[in-house]
């Protein structure tokens, strides 16, 4: 069933609580992601960033609350959503090549029993070209560098041709070329009116790369435009004492560029 867009926000989250055993990982999170934004999810380790993404995707069932995609359930709207998992979540020694992995992004559109054909090949090659990987189409995936593997995952999401892109730490441990390639693609997506939500670790690049931010530490600490929300006070509330230390060492963290607090 094809997904539908309407006046509602791409992602609307209400009173979302997720718990593994007794410990809440997300507590009473509310969030609206506006259409056509590039949003970072930022917070310390164990803040529930990946869990939030996975809950939006229906991979984790919430204990309470709900997720709406254009005011419908994810199940109804899944063709509008693309996902880039963490690179470490799969075994890269799997016997397949880059092109084949990218074509997997079309499996949802193909449905049961149908095999990918020339159309899917073409789409996959185009996506690989967009991330600067066309030369590596036939390369066994274990022979790719970490950054190249990350770009293959991004290309796989691109062939999903979605309206909403959810990405779990696409910048984690990648080289400068890859980082540049990824951010270029993300900006192109935003320019095309798509909505992109990225779990991000590097505070330094938040003001440069993103226009919206969610500060998360089990609870949603603050959310909105980077210029308003990405303030030292809010970061301190998100990171606690750890952030105080970073600020004391590096000086004031200023929103809108030139910031220098790097969370490791």
């Amino acid at each position: 069933m094809p997904g539908q867009r309407n006046g509602s926000p791409p992602i609307h989250i209400e009173d979302l609580t997720v718990a593994y055993r007794e410990e809440p990982v997300l507590w009473d999170v509310d969030l609206d992601v506006p259409e056509g934004t590039l949003m970072a999810i930022v917070g310390p380790n164990g803040a529930g960033k990946s869990t939030l993404i996975k809950t939006i995707l229906g991979l984790i069932q919430p204990a309470a609350g709900q997720v709406r995609i254009y005011d419908r359930s994810y199940t109804e709207q899944r063709s509008l959503v693309a996902y880039v998992p963490q690179r470490g979540s799969v075994d890269w020694d799997f016997p397949t090549n880059a092109l084949d992995v990218v074509m997997m992004g079309r499996y949802g559109h193909l449905g049961w029993l149908k095999r990918p054909g020339p159309t899917e090949r073409k789409l996959a090659l185009d996506a690989l070209t967009k991330v600067g990987m066309q030369e590596y189409a036939g390369r066994q995936i274990s022979q790719l560098s970490g950054g190249q593997q990350q770009r293959v995952f991004l290309a796989r999401a691109l062939v999903q041709d979605a309206q909403i892109y959810l990405m779990d730490e696409p910048f984690q441990g990648v080289d400068a070329t890859t980082e540049k390639a990824i951010i270029t693609v993300l900006r192109e997506l935003r320019a095309a009116g798509r909505t992109v939500v990225v779990v991000h670790h590097d505070l330094e690049t938040v003001p440069e790369y993103f226009d919206h931010v969610l500060l998360l530490n089990v609870r949603a600490i603050a959310t909105g435009p980077v210029a308003e929300i990405f303030t030292p006070a809010n970061l301190r509330r998100t990171y606690g004492g750890h952030m105080d230390m970073l600020l004391a060492r590096d000086g004031e963290l200023t929103p809108g560029g030139g910031s220098n607090g790097r969370h490791s």
């Binding site: 899944r78 996902y83 075994d91 016997p95 997997m104 499996y107 949802g108 049961w112």
Partner: protein
């Protein structure tokens, strides 16, 4: 030659040999094919646990029906193996016990229960029960054509499922979370794949037995993985390896009275694994070792060339005449601790890049000087004309001043 022909003829005419060979071949084919997915999903041990778990199913099926018809016992094994897999999954998900421990527990409990049941049935003294214990280690010689048909039927169904859901099984094996976000029912597909592995186990029970069956699941796939980086080729190759091991195991065991078929098949497939681990072109150990040795030699060669060249230059020769100047071997040895200079010089001489001179002295030939310049340029990323020269100063006795 006649003996071989006679033997080949025997395969087609002798009922027992033909049946056993066919059975072992089908078993290898199906377990290689279905085992590939188990190996790729890091579930090799699941096959082991499920084959052991199948034993009580076989005995219970016999107790309930009193029949030893292959399909009845296979269904019993299927049910028990499947229950075992389900239990492993439940324990892993619902408790803090990790999967490896869960596998161990289920394997031991089911197998122990199966042994108890088996002994109990045997003590009942019913003549009908004889032959149940062959499920422990398998007895291929007892196979009849109806067994082979049952194996082919069950295996064919598994094969059909893999062909139909190839794309889904591939995605599930590589990235199950992604498959779930696309809307594929990952839980159901998981059950389907697990069931297929149980099917492969069940097919082999009569021939190979519960104890050795996991080898037939894991080994062909592990061997096939060595030779290719494509999933379709790997699965095909695993099926071929399995079939080959089945046929050769059956034939080899027929050559002598004392050789049991099942274990011989397992030995054949293990030989294939050993050969693949050693000699596969890209992933093989021998290839890797040879490549490493080649690289080391090349580096050593370049290092000796370079040192000869720099010794010449530091003696005031212009780069062009480096070839005219011979050097004391002692100086070379001193400049390059840890390198087998003599052997490398011999190699260089045979290649016409260096030449021995009087009194254990060595010099570059013009070709050698040329190569030295090129390799220096490559390693230092400079053009050959503007090489950074690291002069090596020598004492009058030919020792290197550090």
């Amino acid at each position: 030659m006649d003996a071989i022909l006679e033997f080949v003829q025997l395969i087609f005419t002798d009922y027992t040999l033909r049946t056993v060979t066919l059975g072992a071949m089908i078993l290898g084919l199906v377990s290689g094919l279905l085992g590939s997915f188990a190996v790729l999903r890091k579930q090799s041990l699941l096959g082991d646990a499920m084959s052991h778990a199948a034993l009580p199913g076989v005995v219970i099926a016999f107790i309930l029906t009193g029949s030893k018809a292959p399909l009845v016992l296979m269904l019993g094994a299927l049910a028990a193996g499947w229950l075992g897999a389900l239990l492993v999954q439940l324990v892993t998900e619902q408790t803090r016990i990790k999967q490896d421990s869960a596998l161990g527990i289920v394997l031991a409990v089911f197998f122990g229960f199966g042994l108890v049941l088996l002994t109990w049935v045997q003590r009942q003294g019913s003549a009908n029960q004889s032959g149940l214990d062959t499920f422990l280690f398998g007895r291929a010689a007892a196979l009849v054509m109806s067994d082979v048909w049952a194996m082919a039927g069950v295996g064919g169904a598994g094969l059909l499922l893999v062909l139909l859901f190839w794309k889904e099984f591939k995605l599930l094996s590589f990235d199950p979370d992604f498959a779930a976000t696309l809307g594929f029912p990952v839980g159901l597909l998981n059950v389907a794949l697990t069931t297929l592995i149980v099917v492969a186990v069940v097919i082999g029970l009569q021939t190979v037995g519960v104890v050795l069956m996991s080898a037939m699941i894991v080994a062909p796939a592990a061997a096939a993985r060595q030779w290719t980086d494509r999933l379709d080729r790997m699965v095909l190759l695993a099926a071929l390896f399995g079939a080959l091991a089945g046929i050769s195991g059956a034939l080899i065991s027929s050559l002598s009275r004392g050789l049991p078929t099942g274990p011989t098949v397992v030995l054949c497939v293990s030989t294939l694994v050993g050969f693949s681990l050693l000699f596969a072109p890209n992933r093989g150990l021998v290839g890797a070792w040879l490549r490493q040795r080649h690289n080391r030699r090349q580096l050593r060669r370049a290092a000796v060339l370079e040192t000869l060249y720099q010794l010449a230059i530091s003696h005031g020769d212009a780069a062009e005449v480096a070839s005219a100047h011979a050097h004391q071997l002692g100086a070379l040895l001193a400049a390059m601790p840890g390198v087998d200079v003599r052997r490398t010089l011999d190699v260089l001489e045979s290649e016409g890049l260096a030449r021995p001179s009087t009194g254990d002295r060595w010099a570059l030939t013009p070709a050698g000087a040329d190569q030295a310049r090129q390799s220096l340029a490559r390693f230092t990323r400079h053009s050959p004309d503007e090489l950074p020269i690291r002069p090596i100063a020598l004492t009058s006795a030919g020792e290197v001043i550090k």
